[in-house]
């Protein structure tokens, strides 16, 4: 818009070179002010959503830790004869939240770059799908959307876990890639391990658990997949909202700086115009 105004002025030769017209500046000022209003209200909305997400995350953390403990205590190792891996990317549909989605996608992309034959990807959220489908579209076996508008529920997680189990993809080991919420200003892209029934049953340390038969293990693994997914979705949602809050805060700050600069140039140009008009009047009068 500014460039166009400059070209127009040069054409008519009405103003000095490089000086935008008053109208152009005021239009730009108005649009930046509107953008600031939008980013500010988005920040408020995500602050409210973040508070809720954090409260819910606190309740979910024990579920996730409990499910995680089982794998840690049993010391399950990924089977060497089954190279197939499953990677679940936990993102959401919504953008404008810094690098939360890209860092999850980047983690998966580096893994796929090493070995794109034996890894299949489940994309949760449109963002990871959009990033990964361009190069590694053939590796995607499931994609989910409609997540991120509302806080994730256990129903969502169990739907996804059910779909993963029914996908007929035989994997030896798997991982859930998600953003672990650390504080309002930081999150860490982490992984949670997932194993198949065969690798759990083959684990030598499984005997520390009492009265296990295959069916109990199978039922527990199905349930623990759902609870791990639920936990990672909650962590992801909380990091996303906190990251969106900071991103929008920065955007409003930048818009504020721009508004200051534009107001300054606006006033300067206005005065320049007034001065020029005065000079024209005075020199006109003295020429009489």
């Amino acid at each position: 818009m500014l460039g166009k105004a400059v070209v127009q002025n040069a054409f008519f030769g009405q103003q000095q070179r490089g000086m935008a017209t008053l109208k152009a500046i005021s239009m730009r000022l108005k649009s930046v002010k509107n953008i600031q209003k939008i980013t500010q209200s988005m920040k408020m909305v995500s602050a409210a959503k973040y508070a809720r997400a954090e409260r819910e995350l606190k309740q979910v953390r024990p579920i996730g830790n409990g499910a995680k403990q089982f794998y840690e205590q049993a010391e399950i190792a990924p089977p060497e004869d089954v190279p197939q891996k499953l990677v679940i990317a936990i993102t959401s549909d919504r953008g404008l939240c810094g690098a939360v989605h890209t860092s999850v996608a980047r983690h998966i992309r580096t893994e796929l770059a090493k070995d794109d034959q034996n890894i299949k990807v489940v994309c949760v959220g449109d963002k990871s799908k959009a990033i990964l489908s361009r190069i590694y579209g053939k590796n995607i076996i499931l994609a989910c959307n409609e997540i991120g508008r509302l806080p994730p529920t256990f129903g969502d997680a169990s739907k996804l876990a059910d779909a993963v189990l029914k996908s007929e993809y035989k994997f030896g080991s798997g991982e859930i890639v998600y953003n672990r919420f650390k504080s309002v200003v930081s999150y860490q892209t982490s992984i949670l391990p997932v194993y198949s029934l065969q690798s759990v049953a083959a684990s030598p340390k499984l005997s520390i658990y009492d009265s296990l038969d295959d069916e109990v293990i199978q039922s527990y693994l199905e349930f623990s997949l759902a609870s791990l997914l639920f936990y990672s979705m909650k962590e992801g949602a909380c990091s996303e909202q906190s990251s969106r809050m900071t991103a929008m805060d920065n955007a409003s700050k930048n818009a504020g700086e721009m508004i200051d600069k534009l107001t300054l140039t606006f006033n300067r140009t206005r005065q320049a115009v007034i001065t020029r008009e005065l000079i024209e009047i005075i020199s006109g009068a003295s020429a009489l």
């Binding site: 994609a143 989910c144 959307n145 529920t153 129903g155 969502d156 169990s158 527990y220 199905e222």
Partner: protein, 58 residues
Amino acid sequence: MSAWRQAGLNYINYSKISAKLLRQALKSDLKADALKREASHLKVTKWEDGKPIKTSEY
């Protein structure tokens, strides 16, 4: 083998149905809150060869 697994359900479906029944059995003042937790909006699509397939329904 338990009856629900023979019927083709896995533990996720089984516990989902039990949770649903339990929620329905609650008293009405607690029920409203509990029913909200049941909602699920996630949509799952199957992909093959880099393209989504329409037919799958979960």
